[in-house]
């Protein structure tokens, strides 16, 4: 097996299997412990946000392209499945796939002019693209519901229409999604695509001089990222049964998606998960203690955390934690220099 890209130690296949099984067991037991619907919802949101962070990570972390317009893909996923369902009664499962395909196309379309841009310009362009989409949706009242959004008809128990009363249904699905994005991420990291994307992130001129077609590979990363993000959008729509442009395509969501991953540690697998957990948990805690009294306090917290993390450990919390644990082992460098354990 080729040595892993820096940042995460790899393990022997057997250790990985054991670890995987333990995690699976724990995950299956969790819903039994947290049976009340409120905590179930939190759990589902936790996995969903971790899933979103990992999806963004493919473009923003591995390829290093800071997209600040990813909510556009959430929107494309959510609105496609919802409109297909409301207008033509098509099952959101199919709508989900259609939405994912649209999102992939959109990613490539947006990418084509935007990937030629340097760092910050690229981010601005993606921001602008998402804003444009939001404006279009807000102004399309008949089909897309305008600023008020769309409500999805409550069907109670209809698994083939992506709805169920028992939240366990959603839990299983989101956990599956979570593992699928992890699986794809790991596959990317160990394949040629991953090496090329990492090279692009490090120094795209050098990568190009070694034969890497920048636009093509960035587009691949963008498309994969968009597909997963859009699927998450459909899931969200079916879980909450209500979508509107502000929540689903808004700038706030775009920034959240990027920030979770950045705070946690771009490019790794554990990093985005940490970032998502941190943000969801702190938001919920604030909500519990402050009630609805202080709106905006959770966002303010994101801002403070983001600034603090960037100031002291730009690579993210994951690196901070690893450095901390490495103090107890004998190595002096923050990473074991890419050595397989």
């Amino acid at each position: 097996m080729p040595p892993p890209l820096p940042r995460e130690k790899s393990m022997s296949p057997r250790t990985e299997w054991i670890r995987g099984i333990i995690i699976l067991v724990v995950l299956s037991l969790l819903p039994l412990i947290f049976q009340n619907p409120y905590t179930m919802s939190i759990l589902i949101l936790l996995f969903l946000y971790a899933y979103f962070a990992l999806s963004w990570n493919i473009l923003g972390g591995i390829a290093g392209q800071l997209s600040l317009g990813h909510s556009a893909y959430v929107g494309i996923g959510a609105y496609t499945s919802t409109v297909l369902f409301l207008q033509w009664g098509i099952s959101p499962w199919i709508g989900m796939i259609v939405g994912a395909i649209f999102a992939a196309f959109a990613a490539i379309l947006i990418g084509f002019p935007c990937f030629k841009l340097r760092g910050a310009y690229f981010s601005l362009a993606t921001l602008a693209a998402a804003m444009i989409l939001q404006i279009i949706v807000e102004n399309t009242n008949n089909l897309l519901g305008g600023p008020r959004g769309l409500e999805i008809t409550l069907l109670k128990d209809a698994p083939w229409q992506f709805q169920y009363t028992n939240k366990l249904f959603y839990y299983v699905i989101v956990v599956l999604l979570f593992f699928s994005v992890i699986g794809v991420t790991r596959w990317i990291l160990h394949s040629r695509i991953g090496y090329y994307l990492n090279a692009i992130k490090n120094d795209q001129e050098a990568a190009q001089s070694l034969g890497v077609n920048l636009t093509r590979y960035k587009s691949i990363a963008a498309a994969i990222s968009a597909i997963f993000t859009a699927i998450g959008g459909t899931f969200y729509a079916q879980f909450v049964l209500y979508i509107n442009p502000e929540k689903i395509i808004g700038t706030n969501l775009s920034i959240q998606l990027a920030v979770m991953c950045i705070i946690g540690g771009r490019g790794t697998i554990l990093g985005p998960i940490l970032g998502a957990v941190l943000l969801v948990v702190s938001a919920e805690l604030l909500h519990l203690y402050m009630g609805g009294k202080m709106i905006g306090l959770d966002i303010m917290l994101y801002g403070i955390i983001l600034m603090t993390v960037i100031r002291f450990e730009p690579q993210g919390i994951y690196v901070l934690i690893r450095k901390f644990f490495n103090r107890f082992t004998r190595s002096t460098s923050p990473f074991r220099d890419g050595r397989s354990s």
């Binding site: 080729p2 040595p3 890209l5 820096p6 940042r7 160990h190 394949s191 040629r192 090496y195 090329y196 990492n198 090279a199 992130k201 490090n202 120094d203 001129e205 050098a206 990568a207 190009q208 001089s209 070694l210 034969g211 890497v212 077609n213 920048l214 990473f335 220099d337 890419g338 050595r339």
Partner: protein, 242 residues
């Protein structure tokens, strides 16, 4: 025509004629030295040759095909690869992974790419730093890595941009040997260098650039005796070294 040719190439940067009607051709297997005072346009020639910037006029040929206007990744795929004067290692990847990025050009199989990368690693004496991160390397190792990566793409011709700058005399001698080994693999080499002794002893032919123009071309001895060249640049420097 030879493996590489510049035909009346000019490059204008916003009013400044960086390269002015330069023509030359290189035969397969040669080592050609490109010299000239700082700012003469040597690195611009590399940028033009490798597709980083298109010529304002003129034609560039590689293996008898026109390559001017092509992007640098396309040119690399055709077998022409360059190194950078200010080295660009992939800082957050280890040395082996760095080289693998080069190997992956002609094979999608990760195992094969790794094997090839390891081979180049050994040949260029980078075994000791195999697992080190690009950003933690010494300058000598970075230069070596730069060459190793380029070689990994299996080029037919390689452009080396001041690979000896900043090295000790021991390291310089190692690089000279490395370049001779590269020539043995039948790879054509065009190199920019300021270390006169090295470039004169390595090169089959020398091309001298001054103010964006070619002012001399020929074997090292002839060039070093060329009035024009001496006047422009060599002056005391070479005589000091001989």
């Amino acid at each position: 025509m030879g493996i590489f040719q510049f035909k009346n190439v000019s490059k204008v940067f916003g009013g400044l004629r960086a390269i002015d009607d330069v023509s030359f051709s290189i035969d397969q297997g040669e080592i050609i030295g490109l010299i000239g005072p700082n700012g003469a346009g040597k690195t611009t020639i590399f940028s033009l040759a490798s597709g980083f910037t298109p010529p304002t006029s003129g034609k560039i040929f590689f293996k008898e095909n026109r390559i001017d206007g092509l992007a640098s990744d396309q040119i690399c795929k055709k077998g022409l690869c360059r190194t950078f004067q200010v080295v660009k290692p992939f800082g957050d990847m280890n040395v082996l992974d760095n080289i693998m990025v080069g190997s992956l050009l002609h094979t999608a199989n990760m195992k094969k790419a790794q094997e090839e990368a390891l081979e180049i690693l050994y040949t260029l004496g980078l075994v000791g730093v195999k697992e080190q991160m690009g950003k933690n390397l010494t300058i000598a190792d970075r230069k070596r890595l730069e060459i190793a990566r380029a070689l990994a793409t299996h080029p037919k011709m390689i452009l080396l941009d001041e690979v000896m700058a900043g090295l000790t005399s021991v390291e310089t001698r190692e690089v000279i040997e490395m370049i001779r080994q590269i020539q043995k693999r039948n790879i054509t080499i065009l190199l920019i260098e300021h270390i006169m002794q090295a470039i004169m002893s390595l090169s089959d032919r020398i091309i001298v650039i001054h103010h964006g123009q070619k002012i001399s071309e020929g074997n090292p001895k002839a060039v070093s005796n060329d009035e024009q060249v001496i006047k422009a640049y060599l002056g005391e420097e070479y005589h000091e070294l001989t």
